[in-house]
Symmetry: C2
Subunit: 409 residues, 2 copies
């Protein structure tokens, strides 16, 4: 463990019964786990969370997706379709602070764990649900995955070339973006419960959550009265130049630097011209004001590109940044992975797993008193069944063995 | 106020001294405000938060950006560079639970409000900082805006056409995505403080926060050992077809539907062929398995497109969805804005402002006990100076008037 890493204890003692799968739910409970909560995944004994991508009888060659969203959790297996299995999770719910699920619409009710049932068992529980579409939406019975939520939530419509088709943002905002909003609300509900002892039902829809991340675009719509557009790597509606992505040496697919001169700071343009040895253009009437430069944006971009093409993206970022102009190299996962400063700061950590290869992955990026929270291994399927049933419910080894024989767990 | 809206009280009584500006910080404190916290923006008397985009002497024609990230807050004006102004905010900090800032690196220290100073005034305060790059990063002194953080955090590298340049995801994930991770951590710290009474310093960097949203891409890198790629609207590494964006009638820039057949559910392909009246292809050896269809993806996509082009995106979404196959229309801000079901459910609400035009905007998407939290107006610059100085500090109207005369507030 690096010196910059410790175990966060903000949510120490908070018990979470976690029925979530794939990413929207698991990203939420992983955040709770990283803050110190005791998160127990309830998984079916055969395959577990489908995010495990287990292929029965074949070696488990792709555990990375599961690792990424299930660090710092425990796993127990329970057959929820057996009466004894259902009774067992109800006993756990009685002891829990939070229950969370992101099954298909109607599934948790069919399992016999609707909010009314759970509330009757434990009136002070925080009962959290993540769905694709909201209750009351015309699509409330539809399944959704990240791509569906992003398409219906607007993010495709503002991503991609101005004259090209809508494009998927390459990050799973529909899932993790939603999970984070639920996590904030769950911790808020726990905070209030200190005072009131009251439970609540929390619900979020992935489509609705996308609107939260689209607020700049809704602000643009407020101004123009029209649908917000896409603009490649420009920001539509921002009337300044130069601003955008410029090609760098040696010309690989991600060899670009983002340079952003500010409309509010007229010095940026002159400073940039000086840096790139085009002092001849300082004061040139063709490019004097932001409006002039927007009108001749193609020319302006070529002036910058002629210089950036002669530098690597990291050199360009450094030189432009040192000249006091915001700049950022386009980095890919391989470059980020190899940059040791992330590991030194605890932002990336290597998950050590009892079976799988070590996996370097991003952890919780918020540092507390200078330290990052430690990543522990994602659980093997059912790894903690005995431990949790003993710790939470006081079951004896004999009782657990009996349930295993019966196929309940 | 719609019947589906109420005032959330999870963070009632939590006092936040908010020095944030633009979006990464304000999105965080707005989330706290939506959960019921008393958030007071400390703004400079001349221009306020630069996110207000005020142009002195000119009418305020673009308040939407500010509205979107500053609902449910109060505003007071204080000249932090005057000794009396600094003493005043220190008095507020003494009464506060949370202080948060996202100034340029070093600025809060130069103002005389470093963590050491603030901790000495109020040892139990949660002191939160949002920066572009992390302490210890080679770029820690650099400025960052959303685009810079996204470029350096990897999201550009995985967005856009497979053979085209990196592309900016059209949402401000660098800002709001970061703000949400800080909000989770702040509320977690408040939860723990009930028990310990201890304050903490929280720090997040926008670049680091992007890695959190890139975990699918890091999982792909874990599997392949290579940088995660971009794939237009396909998901690189997912080996199934059909899956992607299909063009719809009448052929406008956002007339597309995302259709996603599942590798795990072989019925999807047959069901889709039946729906589009291509039963002749059911069992066709060329398209039998997911691997076959990936190999002939261009042909498969054309089979689907021939049908989708004859339907609107909403009809296609409905018909494909009813056939049990995940599908989602690409919706833009105008279409989302006009869909009354968002307003009926409290997900979109109209901000009523004392001066500006009403603005329909997305609110907090997580519902509590079936209700959404009410959006109240973003504050006018200094609107709550008198009220807050009286409520928080017990200052008399005379004392406040005196400070106004002196230009302190």
């Amino acid at each position: 463990m690096s010196a910059s890493v410790c175990d966060f204890t903000f949510l120490q003692g908070v018990k979470v019964v976690d029925f979530t799968q794939f990413e929207a739910g698991p990203s939420c409970t992983e955040a709770l786990g990283w803050l110190g909560a005791d998160v127990v995944k309830i998984e079916n004994p055969k395959m577990g969370d489908p995010g495990r991508r287990l292929r029965p009888g074949q070696p488990d060659t792709d555990p990375y997706y599961f690792h990424a969203f299930n660090a710092n959790k425990k796993s127990i297996t329970v057959d929820l379709k057996s009466l004894k299995g259902l009774a067992l999770v109800k006993d756990m719910i009685r002891k829990a602070d939070v229950m969370i699920e992101n099954f298909a619409p109607g599934a948790i009710e069919r399992l016999g764990l609707s909010y009314d049932v759970v509330k009757a068992i434990n009136p002070s529980i925080i009962y959290a649900q993540v769905k694709g579409f909201g209750e009351g939406s015309p699509f409330e019975h539809n399944l959704a995955f990240d791509m569906i939520a992003q398409a219906c939530g607007g993010t495709f419509s503002v991503t991609g070339d101005k004259n090209g088709p809508p494009t998927r943002p390459g990050i799973s905002l529909g899932d993790t973006g939603t999970g984070m909003l639920m996590a904030i609300t769950i911790v808020g509900a726990l905070y209030k419960r200190h005072e009131t002892g009251e439970g609540h039902r929390l619900q979020v829809a992935m489509q609705d959550a996308m609107l939260h991340y689209m607020r700049i675009n809704f602000a643009t719509q407020g101004l123009t009265g029209k649908a917000a557009e896409r603009g490649g790597s420009k920001v539509p509606g921002v009337s300044n130049a130069p601003m955008g992505l410029y090609p760098c040496a040696p010309g690989g697919p991600n060899d670009y630097v983002y340079i952003m001169t500010s409309r509010a700071n007229p010095d940026h343009w002159d400073r940039l011209l000086k840096l790139i040895d085009r002092q001849d253009l300082i004061g040139d009437k063709r490019y004097l004001t932001p409006a002039d430069r927007v009108e001749r944006e193609a020319e302006v971009d070529e002036v910058i590109s002629a210089w950036t093409r002669k530098h690597t993206k990291l050199d360009a970022m450094k030189l432009v940044g040192e000249a006091g102009i915001p700049a950022g190299a386009v980095l890919d996962t391989d470059e980020l992975n190899k940059d040791v400063t992330f590991e030194q700061r605890g932002i990336m950590q290597t998950m050590i797993h009892p079976v799988h290869r070590p996996f370097k992955m991003p952890g919780w990026p918020v540092r507390v008193d200078g330290k990052a929270t430690r990543i522990t291994s994602s659980p093997m399927l059912g790894e903690h069944t005995d431990q949790v049933l003993s710790d939470w419910l006081g079951l004896t080894a004999q009782a657990v063995a009996e349930m295993k024989r019966e196929g309940v767990i």
